[in-house]
């Protein structure tokens, strides 16, 4: 069984395959209208997210399938205390594929370990949101004609923005990528992302607080929101916020073939005036997101015949064979309060070795480092 929990679950070849399918859907939508006839997508949204949910639903309907599900935890059995594992087993009786949004990090992974149908992570807390990254990649690919050899600026909240971390992760696998990190000091990219991804892979990057200074270099500008509540000192927020709001005048020195992306919803971080600029691609991004979700649903349903790639039991088998085993099961306890291990009953605490040299273990579910 293939799932999509983390964007790195797919090789670059697989991502290219998804983009090829998406492009074919855009060119020949009529040939896809009955591809999922008789199939059902379950949209299990334990917290609300209209855009993502409706994108999945539109995708499934355009493939001729149907949709069941819920749009917030209150309407679900979770309110009665059902575990994510049981929900996944129950929904496997009703649907053919699951898209899950959950406030706890790792919840969709737990679902995938218990479901007998493919699971797509539609956002797990501040952790991963791989289908947004699929939308981002197709937008760059279609608008720029390539995925490598370009300078990509990320602007705004780079500390908490999960879509930023995922896209950096995805782009780091292509040739000739240069990254510009534009944010206030309070919201800089976490050092582990810089270390584990950018330095590890030798990606050149600049770090700055000045959007306009670097604007002329950028091929792609990825905007995110700077939220007032992220600042301990409100004066700092008021002083800084306008620097990270994109307006037409800030674009004067930008390249003519720049593309501007935003994961949406926007509040005020891109002025409505910018919408008319042909470089504004954030609504196209919405459309491309739907096509990538269609391609993803097709791929996962096609590969659903295969058996489980990973289950709790498989992991038990490989535990504790050496001094530095690949997996530690119920040896360490994850202390991240946002991790699914903090709420799910009878769930094994599993840590996997991610850096043998330094003996770094990370929680299987939320990727928090073991202390």
């Amino acid at each position: 069984m293939r799932n999509l929990i983390n964007i790195l679950d797919f090789s670059t070849e697989e991502l290219q395959g998804l983009m090829d399918t998406a492009n074919d859907i855009i060119d020949h939508p009529e040939t896809y209208r009955e591809r999922c006839k008789g199939k059902k997508l379950a949209t299990l949204f334990f917290e609300p997210s209209t855009r993502t949910r409706l994108s999945f639903e539109a995708a499934m309907y355009e493939l001729g399938g149907n949709v069941i599900g819920f749009s917030e935890a209150q309407s679900s059995s979770a309110a009665k205390g059902e575990s994510v594992a049981d929900t996944a087993k129950v929904i496997s009786c009703y649907a053919d594929i699951i898209a899950m949004r959950h406030p706890k990090e790792g919840a969709p992974l737990v679902a995938s370990m218990n479901a007998s149908i493919p699971v797509i992570n539609a956002g797990d807390g501040g952790h991963n949101h791989p289908t947004q990254t699929l939308a981002d990649l197709l937008t760059i690919y279609r608008e720029k004609g390539r995925l490598g050899n370009m300078t990509v600026g990320f602007c705004g909240d780079l500390k908490y923005g999960r879509t930023v971390h995922s896209l950096i992760n995805a782009l780091a696998r292509y040739e000739g990528i240069k990254i510009v990190l534009i944010s206030p000091d309070e919201l800089k990219l976490p050092s582990y992302v810089k270390k584990d991804i950018l330095k590890e892979r030798g990606i050149p990057y600049e770090q700055t607080t000045d959007l306009e200074a670097f604007m002329p270099e950028l091929d792609v500008l990825y905007m995110t929101r700077v939220q007032r509540e992220r600042f301990p000192n409100q004066d700092d927020y008021l002083r800084l916020k306008d620097s990270y709001i994109l307006t037409p005048d800030k674009l004067q020195n930008a390249k003519s073939d720049l593309i501007i992306l935003h994961p949406l919803p926007r509040v005020n971080e891109i002025s409505v005036e910018v919408d008319k600029d042909p470089r504004a691609c954030y609504f196209k991004q919405v459309l491309y997101g739907k096509y990538m979700r269609m391609a993803l649903i097709l791929k996962l349903l096609k590969e659903a015949q295969k058996s489980y790639a990973l289950s709790c039991d498989d992991i038990t088998v490989i535990e504790k064979k050496t001094d530095t085993p690949e997996c530690l099961v119920n040896v360490l306890h994850c202390n991240n309060p946002r991790c699914i291990t903090s709420t799910e009953r009878e769930l094994k605490h599993i840590f996997k070795l991610t850096d043998r040299e330094n003996r770094v273990y990370r929680c299987l579910y939320c990727e928090a480092k073991a202390e």
Copy 2:
């Protein structure tokens, strides 16, 4: 692009066309079963309204289409602060037509100015609810065989009842209409409706507090609810409320071919005993509402090829040409706290000239008069 924001957006010929289609659907439902195959309706309900929402959904399914959407703001991105304009742009990537219910007056108009697909107003605060008026018109037309030459009584809360104002607006365009306004003094029809519609068009009308006195004259009786919270003085409410509850004995002197309408939901303003009376048409009205919504969806999708009828930019072009321009853009500010201009970011405040002689300008969104 055609939309339905206000019942007056359609000419009487267009309304007749919708009724003809609805009648044809009733007679030949099987020929409509695949008309919207592959199309999607988005039901964007920023406040709950089961009846209206399910009527739209049933309509779309009976045309062979699909439905995506949400049933309350909490489940939507609005909770994250997204503007109506952005929501309309995003949903245009997912669906083929929008039905929007919103607590703010003018919100569906804002949506229609930003969507690239047709928008239907499914109720905007206390302002408009044109598809209810479509249901009312078809009920009168089918049950009475005509839309003019009749005496129509409106009973109950005529002050806040948006369905009353819309139906009066619609009926005022037919010949031989006489209106009887039956309400407590506290809930009389607003004087601007009387002045702008009834007096302006020379429609004869009576105003009374006594339902039974005028009952024998009525061809149509449109009931609405008298809500306790509308009365500043609770003693007045208790004294008056029974006068406006329809019971079988109040119908003793009514015409045998009277028809009784109600926009529903009813609480206690029509006794359940009246349901058995063949003159009670409020459940038929529900059914006719579904058929009119089917006809409306078909009409708007058919006309969706055409370009925007109105956009913010078109308006900018025509502003301030004369001393008494047709439009004032960002000159006046709408003070109605229920208007969408009070919450939507970067929305132009637009006032249009509605009475050149008296230089009356009204807000484009909520139709409040400029001061």
Copy 3:
């Protein structure tokens, strides 16, 4: 019109017919894929229940039909004070069949008395939940090959568990059934169930607090949850709770062909370790529930041509003919605060004679005994 309000509405022959259909659907799903094309199921869930709602929706989609509805009262017109009777009449204009979950006992019966389409009770407070019983019966039938001649243990909360009462009611009609009632004293089967069903029909039964002692005798073990809030004394809860949690060691002396059922959601009353035991059938039960709902929808839609089996007016006709009439209409008042009569406007209070010898009358809606 046939409805399913109480499992006893169907004869054992009809239940067998439903099971035969369900088995045929399991063997030949492809022949059912278009059976409900063009039909709509309305899922009216006045309180949330993901599993039941999604089971109905999956069932309808697998029959080729569509679904409209709501998943909690807040999104429905009930929040505006609409009666269940009016909701049923309105929904009859939109759908072909209703599945209703409601917190008030008897609400689905009221709906069935006002709808012009079939109504399925999807759970009415603590009263009935007949489609869960359908799932239970098919699971026993398929896994054991029979419905009679077996010993069935019920364990946990037998006092408030509506699924327990319904299944006992259903099984009591088969030959050779023996019942073992396993619960703490605080949560014993109510004496009226023992008297009216078990003693009345001469079903042999044992009552015990000791699960392990009776384990070797059981052919079926039906687990339910022991909720902390049911115990006036929290010390008693803590002392007792582990006795009613099923773990692999408690199964050591069980029969090798025992089957373990649970209506779900489970919290902790069956250890996750038990899931791997081939005798664990509670997830199969979920799947079988979907097939029984498919069979039920087909049966009720097929019989929907027939006229009302019961309406308020029919009842009025047969009232007060003798000293001990079959029905009492508006003579007695139901005092059960959970009964739909406590909230529904203008609803007749009807009591029916259920035991002529002892002149026992029960409320038509909630079956509470008249005092």
